[in-house]
């Protein structure tokens, strides 16, 4: 029998870590201030007290080392869960993630697996510039051998993190920090993982498909509400597992609606929206009634404070783009 708890996204992260650590001794957490302080966003709050400092470790400030160490631990069958304090600080670790973690299974022809979950908060919404706010998921989604997961709400954070902790693959688990405390869900504490390779259809409709992930799901759903008021039947897809991506669910939807808009917070050029649009164009061109619409951040460096608001795609921009796509005959 499982109970339910009303959780924010960040509490759901803590709950999933706690659940899995209780079952699997190979799981260890590490990162800057994750132990004694429970993490700057409090994602690991209370876990060092519960599991001890051998399993919840404060590390020195050294991201390259944190990632490299994780690879070595995983090679021995451990399941490290390093936290990169903000996604923008991952670049010293990028080398080890891209050239070791992602390739070890392939290099050893399957003899070694890399059950590592790199957790990191990402995305805008706290008015800080650059590395504290940007969305660089496409950089990682481009690397074969990595999975990239982005939960958009507490339920998905719980289920996808469980899946991630149980997966033998190296995973980037990107937590949209703007949503950390934005919504609460009643989450069943049943230890059931969500699939690692499936998009979620959050709303069914016939006229247009809106596709997004992460924090932008909230703008996208609000846009869908607004369009629904005008009598538009909107289908909304949360990609969630952005690499590898479940294109089949997206194709099925587009075959039904014939129109779609992709919404992403990241800059437009070379983002995941481009990949989704290309896949749809390649495989479903004949199903399309209108050109594919895209709403994205701008191709600029994430600006500071007030300007962040100009950068971030708004509900209005999504609605406008959807209307443009809907009008096309």
């Amino acid at each position: 029998m499982s109970d339910t708890k009303i959780l924010t996204l960040i509490e759901a992260v803590t709950a999933a870590l706690d659940h899995e650590m209780g079952l699997d001794k190979e799981i260890v957490l590490m990162g800057e201030d994750v132990g004694k302080n429970g993490g700057v966003f409090r994602a690991t709050d209370g876990l060092q007290q519960k599991y001890g400092d051998e399993r919840v470790m404060d590390t020195p400030l050294a991201e390259a080392m944190i990632a490299g160490l994780s690879v070595g631990m995983a090679a021995q069958g451990m399941k490290p869960v390093p936290e990169i304090q903000f996604m923008g600080f991952v670049f010293p670790a990028f080398n080890q993630i891209a050239t070791a973690a992602a390739r070890m299974r392939n290099r050893t022809r399957g003899r070694l697996t890399m059950p590592i979950t790199f957790r990191m908060p990402y995305g805008g919404g706290i008015h800080a510039p650059e590395h504290h706010s940007e969305s660089t998921e496409a950089l990682f989604a481009h690397i074969p051998g990595l999975r990239v997961l982005i939960p958009s709400n507490p339920t998905r954070a719980y289920g996808l993190l469980l899946a991630s902790l149980r997966s033998p693959d190296p995973i980037l688990f990107l937590e949209p920090k703007r949503v950390y405390r934005m919504v609460k869900h009643e989450v069943e504490m049943n230890g059931v993982a969500l699939p690692l390779d499936k998009c979620f259809v959050d709303r069914e409709g016939d006229d247009i498909t809106l596709i997004s992930w992460g924090a932008m799901m909230h703008e996208t759903l609000l846009a869908a509400d607004q369009l629904a008021k005008d009598g538009v039947s909107v289908e909304v897809i949360d990609v969630a597992t952005v690499a590898p991506m479940d294109m089949e669910t997206i194709f099925t939807s587009v075959r039904k609606t014939g129109r779609c808009v992709v919404v992403q917070e990241a800059p437009r050029a070379g983002g995941l929206g481009s990949e989704i649009a290309a896949e749809i164009a390649e495989h479903e061109l004949m199903s399309l009634i209108a050109p594919i619409g895209r709403v994205a951040g701008y191709d600029t460096i994430m600006p500071y404070a007030k300007m962040e608001m100009q950068y971030m795609p708004s509900v209005e921009r999504v609605v406008e783009e959807a209307q443009k796509v809907l009008k096309y005959v």
């Binding site: 302080n37 020195p60 600080f89 650059e130 600006p303 500071y304």
Partner: protein, 355 residues
């Protein structure tokens, strides 16, 4: 701790009240014989930073500063003492705790405050915020948000100084936490290999966010960080501006003579949280109070000045008023300034048109 308190001070049962601070001027201080004018200058510079930072803290509290804000309160003696030992054209580079470095370099407080509040009149046009400020005019190469990343950059600045043969040095500031980043060691190695004019300043305020220095390294006396690279290092009382000045003079002389880089570990303390959002569970209020009461860099100099009889309490109060007015003016200036135009989103990314 910077210095063991004397028996007399540690016997006190209550932490000293702000008004009755008793600050011990150490014997070491005598290494640098400051003139009255010099003392007054250091006092003014340090107090200016303190008042500016207090205002920044208030502005953050009022929601006028976005994201993060890392205050320099408690560490003022370091930048002021070092700046006093530099000459025109010497370069400075640091991390995100950079407001004090900018003020010490002579950068207009209005431009700094306007930047903190994201205004178009800020030194980075309101697009960089507290972590990303620069002044080419003052050879201030930033303001960097990625911990430790400024160390190789500053080493490159030193390389350019040497290449150009301009006799200038590069002062590279970083924290105790940053000193554990791998690229810091890569920088040390090359700086010595090529004997670059680099002065590495480790601002050891004893914490990297919530992690005490000895919880992050097996050898917490960071002045030894250069040992295996053959870079000489020295431990300095970073709460004492005169000692900072004395050691800077020696280091700068050594570096300018072409002998290569040097490391100074400045033992210091930040009074405030890591940033403005810091639950401060990692240290006690008493620890902070003790540092403030016994080692405050500004009080130490104030004490000397008053004891010298060359300035009165009243005159120092006047000076404080003058500084507060400058700081208030900077806050007013910032608040009266416009936010950047949306079109600014696209400026200064790549050179527009044909390069």
């Amino acid at each position: 701790m910077v210095k063991k308190p004397t028996k007399a001070t540690s016997k006190k049962t209550k932490p000293a009240k702000a008004k009755t601070k008793k600050v011990k001027a150490s014997a070491k201080t005598e290494k640098f014989k400051a003139t009255h004018d010099e003392l007054m200058h250091y006092y003014r510079e340090m107090l200016m930073i303190r008042r500016f930072e207090e205002k920044s803290g208030q502005m953050y509290g009022m929601g006028l500063i976005g994201g993060f804000c890392h205050l320099y309160i408690g560490q003022e003696a370091i930048v002021v003492g070092i700046q006093a030992g530099l000459k025109d054209g010497d370069a400075t580079i640091t991390g995100y705790r950079d407001h004090g470095h900018m003020l010490a370099a002579g950068i207009d407080p209005n431009a700094v405050m306007a930047e903190l509040t994201g205004r178009a009149t800020g030194i980075s046009s309101g697009k960089g915020g507290s972590m990303h400020m620069f002044s080419t005019e003052k050879h201030f190469y930033g303001g960097h948000g990625i911990v430790g990343a400024q160390v190789p950059l500053g080493t490159g600045v030193a390389f350019a100084n040497k290449y150009k043969g301009n006799d200038n040095i590069s002062v590279i500031y970083f924290g105790d936490g940053a000193s554990n980043q791998g690229q810091v060691f890569e920088a040390f190695n090359m700086a010595k290999l090529w004997n670059l004019p680099a002065l590495f300043i480790i601002e050891n305020n004893q914490y990297a966010m919530g992690t005490a220095v000895e919880r992050a390294t097996g050898r917490a006396d960071l002045s030894h960080r250069g040992d295996s690279f053959a870079i000489p290092g020295k431990l300095v009382d970073g709460m004492n501006v005169l000692e900072v000045k004395a050691e800077t003079d020696k280091a700068v002389k050594y570096i300018r003579s072409g002998k290569g880089p040097m490391i100074l570990e400045m033992k210091t303390y930040r009074y405030r949280g890591h940033s403005m959002s810091d639950p401060a569970k990692y240290r006690t209020k008493e620890e902070v109070q003790k540092m403030r009461a016994e080692h405050d860099p500004i009080d130490q100099i104030k004490d000397r000045l008053l004891k010298s009889g060359k300035v009165t309490e009243e005159e120092l109060k006047e000076l404080d008023k003058e500084l507060k007015a400058i700081v208030t003016k900077s806050a007013d200036f910032a608040q009266a300034s416009p936010f950047p135009e949306p079109s600014e989103l696209y400026t200064d990314i790549l050179i527009e048109g044909e390069a």
